[in-house]
């Protein structure tokens, strides 16, 4: 991948095997519930989960539903992940009280907008606020910018969430997933 490819999200996704490696990694770590708000950056993960008979994929109407779903899944001993875009982080803020107060393990993969090379000005307010907002609510942020960081960083996040009981967000930067020109 080179800098010239940043203008095309689909070109990056098509050429990148990291999404498949990421899905396989989540499955190896026992994640069985995939809650998502549809997003191009997570398309391969969503499609893989929908095609996998051993997991449940949960489409959400708003991202905060996924925060509560993760807590409920943990009560029952299951591992869930929330797939969302950075704009959705703003919809989760008060619901993260549940994660922090209850000390629930929490893992979310956030595809960034309003970031490197963004072409839609509406995406900047929440995109630029994503990491600070998560951090003040007690969520540790690990940012990924290169394909070779995806598996090791997400593996670290899985350990931090499900072994140490932390709340962790993996931020998939637009340098990784490609900036949208719109």
């Amino acid at each position: 991948m080179n800098d010239a490819s940043h203008g095309s999200l689909t070109a990056n996704c098509a050429g990148a095997g990291w999404q498949d490696e990421l899905y396989d990694l989540l499955r190896r770590h026992g994640v069985t519930l995939f809650a998502y708000v549809p997003d191009a950056g997570h398309q391969i993960l969503i499609d893989r989960s929908l095609a996998d008979p051993d997991v449940r994929s949960i489409p959400l109407t708003t991202e905060e539903e996924g925060v509560a779903l993760i807590a409920g899944a943990d009560l029952g001993g299951a591992r869930a992940v929330l797939l969302m875009q950075s704009s959705g982080v703003g919809n989760c803020i008060n619901m993260l009280s549940l994660i922090k107060g209850g000390r629930f393990p929490f893992l979310t993969l956030v595809s960034m907008r309003g970031d490197f090379g963004e072409g839609n000005p509406w995406q900047f307010p929440m995109g630029q606020a994503t990491q600070p907002v998560l951090e003040v609510m007690g969520v540790i942020c690990l940012r990924i910018e290169r394909p070779d960081e995806v598996v090791p960083t997400t593996a670290a996040a899985l350990t931090m969430a499900f072994k140490s009981g932390q709340a962790v967000a993996v931020l998939l930067g637009q340098k990784l997933i490609g900036a949208k020109p719109f």
Partner: protein
Amino acid sequence: MSASKISPAKAIAPDVLERGDAVPALIGRHEDFLIIAGLGGTACDVGAFTGDAAHVYSLGGAMGAACMMGLGLALARPDRHVLVVTGDGELLMNLGALATIAVMNPPNLAILCVDNGHYGETGWQKSHTSLGVDLEKIAAGAGITRTCTVARPDDIAAGARLLREGNGSAFVLLRVKPTEPPAFKRNFDASFLRDRFRAALAAP
């Protein structure tokens, strides 16, 4: 006021059921369920009825979480019946959850909404359900196929059956008088409640 948006033609019969009687009557043997209780009155309803049982997780904040916590728990434990007991105000904060639950439709999930038409904890302001909103119709419109409203003593037997039986998620709207919930000293330690719930579930 002549062109009020809220139709006066729909005469709502005064509510007659007491929550302190109707909630236990509908739930029956509470040990048959894993229970998520909403914040406010329903946490007291369930806490008093179950004697602060470990198989209950009650919210003290994060308003709007109850139904989705129930969905997560139901998907994690398809071998157990999961019951969400929440209020009209808590449910109104996250109506989209009804759509998500309808889409997933786990047969082991039931929602009991204790609708007193008011925000009892904040000064008894009227909620939208006192102003014409029908949460059973919203649940049915979201796609939950098994719904009913319990408003009279004669309705309770059918409501209790709906909470326990069937091949899809259930929604029971319980209309009650706007009276105080049973007295119950709640534990607001969300982390303690998590550990206690998980330990109880893991026990043989």
